[in-house]
Subunit: 113 residues, 2 copies
């Protein structure tokens, strides 16, 4: 799983962690429901998770669309706005589990958070 | 779900996020497998997640033991040590979904990360 996190919202560590955890459960649920063929292997390999950063909502949206187009397992997280940031802000795009190279084609340009 | 994260390891934002996401999936899997009666309600309420901090591995271990004793849904995350910190370090204890007051009794003394 790869997570692209917005840095322009200046979320704290706890906020980022909760948003990424949210994404991970959305992806996991969707993977279970769709019988994603990469899920078992991903679990056996210790559930690898990579967290990347972008300072642009547009980049997150474009990444999401590109992942949908490639038929990857993908999700968006919008904050409920109870703390720190405005309600409805797109905070994280999560992708996977899928083939590493398929995810890399879309997210390879982003740096680690 | 409540997550207690070690701050003395000085993990970066991305590292903390991946460790908490790891815990969230462990808890979610365990909740599914045990037919945890709080799971559906927690999902309907938008999967609330609270991230707390402690600078002590001992506090994490004690929190884990206390949650086991109360028969809460609980997990420990140990880092694989590929990046940033030593292999086998206890990084996060996750609890829930359970009754809020039951979790609060154990984690109420910790501050938000």
């Amino acid at each position: 799983m790869v997570f692209l996190v917005r840095t322009d919202l200046q979320m704290g560590k706890g906020k980022v962690a909760s948003q990424v955890a949210h994404a991970s459960i959305l992806l996991y649920k969707a993977a279970l429901n769709s019988k994603n063929p990469f899920l078992d292997c991903w679990l056996k390999w210790g559930q690898p998770k990579i967290v990347l950063r972008s300072d642009s909502e547009l980049e997150l949206s474009e990444t999401y669309k590109a992942a949908v187009k490639k038929q990857l397992n993908v999700c968006r997280v919008y904050d409920s706005g109870k703390t720190q940031i405005s309600s409805g802000s797109l905070t994280v795009v999560g992708i996977g589990p899928n083939k590493s190279e398929d995810i890399d084609k879309i997210t390879g340009k982003f740096k680690l958070l």
